[in-house]
Amino acid sequence: MSTPAISRTIVRLGARSIFGRWRGALLFALPVVLLGLSVLARALVGQSDQGSRHTLYGLGLVVVVPLVALLATSGVLAPEIDDGSISYLLAKPIPRSTIVLSKLVVALGCVVAFATLPMLLAGLVLRTDDPSVAVGFALGSLLGGTAYCALFALLSVMTRHAVVVGLVYLLVWEGLLGGLLDGVRWLSVTRWSAEVADRVAGLSLVENLPLTYALIAGAVVIVGSGWLTGQRLRSFNLTGDE
């Protein structure tokens, strides 16, 4: 197998397709909400451990990061698969892995710009006294965001309702069950990303989750989903009338 490369053309097209639709506006709205609330929390309660934790974890890692990943990934893959225009990318002498990787690069760029950087800024606003909080949450959001992108990419090539399925997964598994059942932490991208923030910033958002496990599990999801996405893309249905 050749080493997967990134196609600048596909990255360029992907970026234009995201910002050419309403999804682009939503991507801007999410970090604005996060930063706005952070400024508000800082102004109202000052530098508090509680306040920063609720904002950066409860809103940041649990809501903003997965939603940015979902919007970006589905925006870069789902419409083209839906209307069949992805056939113009597939009917080219390019390895499928390059197509998937290039699409993921665009989604990842969105995660960095609309989740990781805003998290860093929000952390610095909320805890000027302890920058490790900002760095911890930024790193956590990077791991979580990347894993979510890979997962949602796979979802986009598997179902036409990737956004709905993704939202249900986030609400039910990561949100509802993750809050109720402790054991979900072993299979929860958000909790893995929280473990990274925990370690760097010395917090305790999730109990009893080794960092090594969180990192390896994240890597497995990223590589595994990416590979599976490439495989699925090979059997894309050209005619759309199956």
Binding site: S7, Y88, L90, A91, P93, T239
Partner: protein, 304 residues
Amino acid sequence: MSEIRIDHVSRWFRNVVAVNDVTMTIGPGVTGLLGPNGAGKSTLIALMSGFLAPSAGSVTLDGAPLWRNERVYRQVGLVPEREALFEYLTGREFVVANAELQGLADPGAAAQRAIALIEMSDAQDREISTYSKGMRQRIKMASALVHDPPVLLLDEPFNGMDPRQRIHLMELIRTMGAEGRTVLFSSHILEEVEQVARQIEVVVAGRHAASGDFGAIRRLMTDRPNRFVLRTADDRLLASVLLADPSVRGARLRAEGGIELEASDFGRFSQVLPRLAREHGVRLLEVTPTDESLESVFSYLVSS
């Protein structure tokens, strides 16, 4: 010179058979893939363009398999049937992107050449979302031609085109074929195929029903028995008179009135009928061909 070989290929989706044991070879020149809607034309093109794996048999381009072999796309230009394009790009941006994805040395120049070839230079800087159906079809052609491929596959390229655009595209396809490219296009309209294709492959209900140049296909269709329903002033008399003529193979009186008639020689029958009717003083009220539709032509081809 490139050649696509389809060797005993079947393709089924769960328990529906879309293509049933088809064997054909598509060589240089223009080949028309003719068949009614739902006959499996698109499935065949998907198989030939590497978008579908055959359930049985093999599809190869110059000996190389098409399935899971991205490298063949250097030789293949594909014009899919579906309308969707990258709406937010201009026509030129779209063709340039296709050239880049083909890894061409000078994508800009290649795009200009392809755009000029399909006469879209004037509209190339407009966004694709503003294009008419015919313009979309042409920009799709440009994207498929940008790397100068020896093989060109077009799925229903004339759909939705106005007559002028149609003539222009036919001309273009003929030129491509005359240049020695292997061009295959699908259509459900015989007249369309006849005007462009040197070789015609007929598919019906997933099967390869007939193959040959358009003369052979035409003959198959016109030499077939023609069926008519006649309403006359004296059905029984005219039926017996007609039955005596060699151009008529069979006649049957219908319970509800009228004659059901099968003619074996259409040319002779069309002259004999009015003459005999006049000679015997039987007034012809109605003459209706009952199997002129393409479907009946196809079903005839399948059963022969």
